[in-house]
């Protein structure tokens, strides 16, 4: 998530100042990768911590292929659910793959 800059604005003093701003606002530890669309909503129901007692599974750090397969099965109705079928229908395969990859990288 590093600043890549905008070539159209890389002229004059803006060009000089831009790296300076970087220095100021990204001092310290780099943050986690930005979640792809929809991914940050999952933890509203799926616990981030295994300390939470819940019938809903934690989904971080899982095999992304299994997450994608589960979402496809929820979407098609092949796998029964209460709310997941309704939610899975809101995401394409590409979006689901991106979410699964991000979740897999979380710990």
């Amino acid at each position: 998530m590093r600043e890549r800059g905008d070539p159209a604005r890389r002229d004059g003093w803006v060009r000089v100042l831009r790296p300076v701003v970087l220095t100021i606002f990204t001092v310290g530890a780099a943050g986690a990768a930005e979640p792809p669309p929809g991914a940050s909503s999952c933890s509203g129901c799926h616990p981030v911590s295994t300390k939470v007692e819940a019938p809903v599974p934690t989904i971080r750090g899982r095999d992304p292929a299994k997450i994608v397969a589960a979402m496809q099965a929820f979407r098609s109705g092949e796998r029964s659910s209460t709310v997941m079928g309704r939610i899975a229908k809101g995401f394409s395969d590409d979006e689901t793959r991106a979410i699964a990859a991000w979740l897999a990288a979380q710990h």
């Binding site: 970087l22 943050g31 616990p47 209460t82 939610i87 809101g90």
Partner: protein, 423 residues
């Protein structure tokens, strides 16, 4: 946005010049400063996510109360099914994580100087301000309903003392009494909330005061999860409950706290216990900051949650006009996380990517009977809209074990979201 960024560049440039001359000490003062006002389901998680996104951010969470009392499941407290202690959460973990917590109330926001003033006298400058003030009651919008009236006809729409007052009144009411709930017109916090409350109060009355009556006077003809609620009421509480919609004269036009009466265009209802859920608006600091529009709520950009009215100020949770997203704790939490990543991107001079957000909202019509509504949302035409084909409510014909499963999921959701926010 570009102009804002350039101004940031200029300030940054000046600071950087000082850094070059004065070396390390000045550098610390140039960290990006973010203030979050309000430590509920939106603000608390937003502050944590901002802190985690970049440990160099100076994140300050301003919250007036030392503990948070959660609204979801407070209807179970009102019905005598749950201890209010289970609704309370502290800020110690968030503080220990590195977020600065200031127990105070914001009294002024200067968008030009980018400065927040607190009642206690302190002031803080910010690069980005996040408002998560929840709701305030629109006192006086319903004639006769002011703060004094709420002491005898509780709204219980902010959890805490009001919740316990309504609980005590129900507890003290004799069998054969009449409970009246007044539900407001849209928009308001927690669209299915009045109907979950009616359900759980009916459950309590059926069990302990079966000769009593519950009347819901509604300023609307339709409401969230309506068919599911009405089917459940017919099944569980047929004699006890009556719902009076707008078109049958359900809109309460005035109340009298002294006699505990509610007046509509067609009738006057004398209640033994009256729960007036009044018209609402964004928490008052929104108006002070100039981010509330004439409706009392806050228009926002659906990608960044930045105010449409004031730059560098973001609004999340119940206070925001979030298009198709309801004013729910789940939505507030989802918005808070999206906003935190957008603010992070903006402070780095990057363009935030368009988000998708989810809402899932459970209601209990009885302790073992849960129903839900879900939605998926994306920015379209400058507003958050439903993703077509997704979302919807629980099936109408589900068997009892499905309802029991959703009741269990409802409780698990509460444990999960409060753990993510406060633990």
């Amino acid at each position: 946005m570009i102009r804002t960024t350039r101004r940031t560049f200029l300030k940054g440039g000046a600071a950087a010049a000082s850094v070059a001359l004065l070396a390390a000490p000045a550098l610390a003062q140039a960290k990006a400063r973010i203030i979050v006002l309000g430590g509920g389901f939106a603000g608390a998680i937003c502050a944590r996510e901002l802190h985690r996104a970049d440990l160099s951010f100076e994140v300050t969470l301003v919250e007036a109360n030392p503990t948070f009392t959660a609204c979801p499941f407070s209807n179970a407290v009102i019905a005598g099914l749950r201890d209010i202690a289970m609704q309370r959460f502290g800020y110690d973990v968030i503080r220990a994580e590195g977020v600065t917590i200031v127990q105070d109330r914001a009294t002024a926001v200067d968008p030009q100087e980018r400065r927040v003033s607190l009642r206690g006298g302190a002031g803080f400058g910010y690069d980005r301000l996040v408002l998560a003030p929840g709701i305030d009651i629109r006192w006086g919008a319903l004639p006769g309903y002011d703060e004094a009236a709420a002491a005898s006809m509780p709204h219980a729409w902010k959890a805490g003392d009001q919740t316990l007052l309504l609980r005590r009144q129900l507890d003290a009411m004799a069998d054969g009494g009449t409970v009246v709930i007044s539900a407001p017109a849209n928009p308001f916090r927690c669209p299915p909330g009045p109907y979950e409350r009616a359900s759980l109060i009916a459950f309590y009355l059926k069990k302990t005061k079966p000769r009593s009556k519950l009347i819901v006077l509604d300023a609307k003809d339709t409401f969230s999860k309506q068919r599911l609620f009405q089917a459940a009421w017919q099944q569980l509480y047929p004699e006890l409950m009556e719902w009076v919609p707008l078109s049958n004269g359900g809109k309460v036009t005035s109340v009298d706290a002294k006699t505990r009466t509610l007046v509509t265009d067609f009738a006057t209802y004398k209640a033994d216990v009256a729960n007036v859920i009044p018209p609402q608006r964004a928490g008052s600091i929104a108006e002070v900051a100039g981010v509330a529009d004439p409706t009392g709520w806050c228009p926002i950009d659906p990608v960044t949650f930045e105010s449409r009215l004031r730059p560098n100020i973001h609004v999340i949770g119940d206070a925001a006009i979030a298009g198709a997203m309801p004013k729910s704790a789940f939505a507030a939490n989802a918005q808070a996380k999206v906003c935190a990543f957008a603010v992070t991107a903006l402070l780095r001079g990057e363009a935030p990517s368009p988000p998708k957000l989810v809402n899932t909202c459970y209601s209990l019509v009885a302790p073992d009977y849960g129903i839900s509504i879900a939605g998926v949302y994306h920015p379209t035409g400058g507003q958050l809209a439903d993703v077509e084909g997704a979302g919807g409510v629980s099936p109408a014909d589900a068997p009892p074990d499905f309802r029991a499963l959703e009741a269990g999921y409802a409780e698990a959701w509460f444990r999960t979201i409060t753990a993510e926010t406060f633990a």
